[in-house]
Symmetry: C2
Subunit: 244 residues, 2 copies
Amino acid sequence: MTLRLHTTLDLAPGPLTLGKDQSHYVANVMRAKPGEDVLLFNGRDGEWRGWFDTVAKSGVVVAVEEQTRPQAPESDLWLLAAPIKKDNVDLVAEKAAELGASVLWPVFTRRTVMSRVNTERLAAHMIEAAEQCERLTVPEVREPLALDKALAGWDAARPLIFLDESGGGAPLVQVLAELPAGPLAVLVGPEGGFAPEERELLARLPFARPVGLGPRILRAETAAIAALAVVQAVRGDWNRAPRQ
Amino acid sequence: MTLRLHTTLDLAPGPLTLGKDQSHYVANVMRAKPGEDVLLFNGRDGEWRGWFDTVAKSGVVVAVEEQTRPQAPESDLWLLAAPIKKDNVDLVAEKAAELGASVLWPVFTRRTVMSRVNTERLAAHMIEAAEQCERLTVPEVREPLALDKALAGWDAARPLIFLDESGGGAPLVQVLAELPAGPLAVLVGPEGGFAPEERELLARLPFARPVGLGPRILRAETAAIAALAVVQAVRGDWNRAPRQ
């Protein structure tokens, strides 16, 4: 299988020297060999095919040859997620990237137990997932913020679906059918769910809609992954096929 | 939070002595105390409330008091999944239980790398997830079988949706809209996907339908979890709310 790498560098025909960390990854972790093909994307210039001209710890050089896919619009789908324990938040980051989220925004809620979020680690997970699932972008990981602060500056043109584990919301598919096409955000709480005052705050916001995910109480990470899948299947890009 | 336990024993008012392994779990892992409430279900008699009368390693005794929910029908939704590596198959088992799958059936395909499946471990993960997500049943874990053998005895009244990573299928939501209500099965391949001859075999079966999950190449475990979520949201039980 051809290695596929995200880069922040511009992509055009010619030699491209990868940065130190990525050179280490390519040479020592993926053990790429000179002459092997590689695919590159940067979120701006589409996807390009090249081959490894030099593989060295000091710097891997790719001979970039030709564009294989033009840059194309991707989903404008944010995930706001209360931080949960490491393994689960890593899982959410990885799966959100696979499911086409454009932004992962950790938000602290009343019942959030975790006090810190390693956004660099989350971004690394999302880049790796984006490389493997054939995206042309990597999701943005925003700086963690308190939920009320995140909501204070909200653009009302982006409906916010919040996963209400209390059962107060309408079914997700029904709410999605009522929303216009365009930007969307999904908000998932921590393991303990939202506090009553948070649910009241959200109920007062015209752009926010409570939704239910059925009769079973889903873990926070399951709710996030399941909701993103349904959004993409029902009104997202699941009507498109992968590259043949 | 009230401990919620699955048991194979009949449920009715009166004393109930839990088995050895479960007594150990209740006493030493969950550290339950005498007098604490507990909820019990067995897949036949609904859910019952009781309290711990005796908590001892030798045997925990529950005083079963009253039925809190009657037994009710749950989804008839099978997941056939090619074995993948331990952490990922455990994740699929746990999430399939949360998402209401009734059967998990490991099937060996041409490109399946794993040669063994620990069905006991998978069943334990599913029981724990069922206990926590408020199901009234636990999913059945079937004995692993070769895909062609599993298909040979297939009941054509159960449509089989197979997740075709080659992009040959119609979008999942479209296929679901064309299928009658009732029994359903989802089939997900291993990391390497289905072999061409498997896809040809499936194409010849009148009950099998290839579906696509969008333009990104999902990992096997992501595809399984995402497909189950969409099935439940679109034609399953996500129109129902959790117990208030």
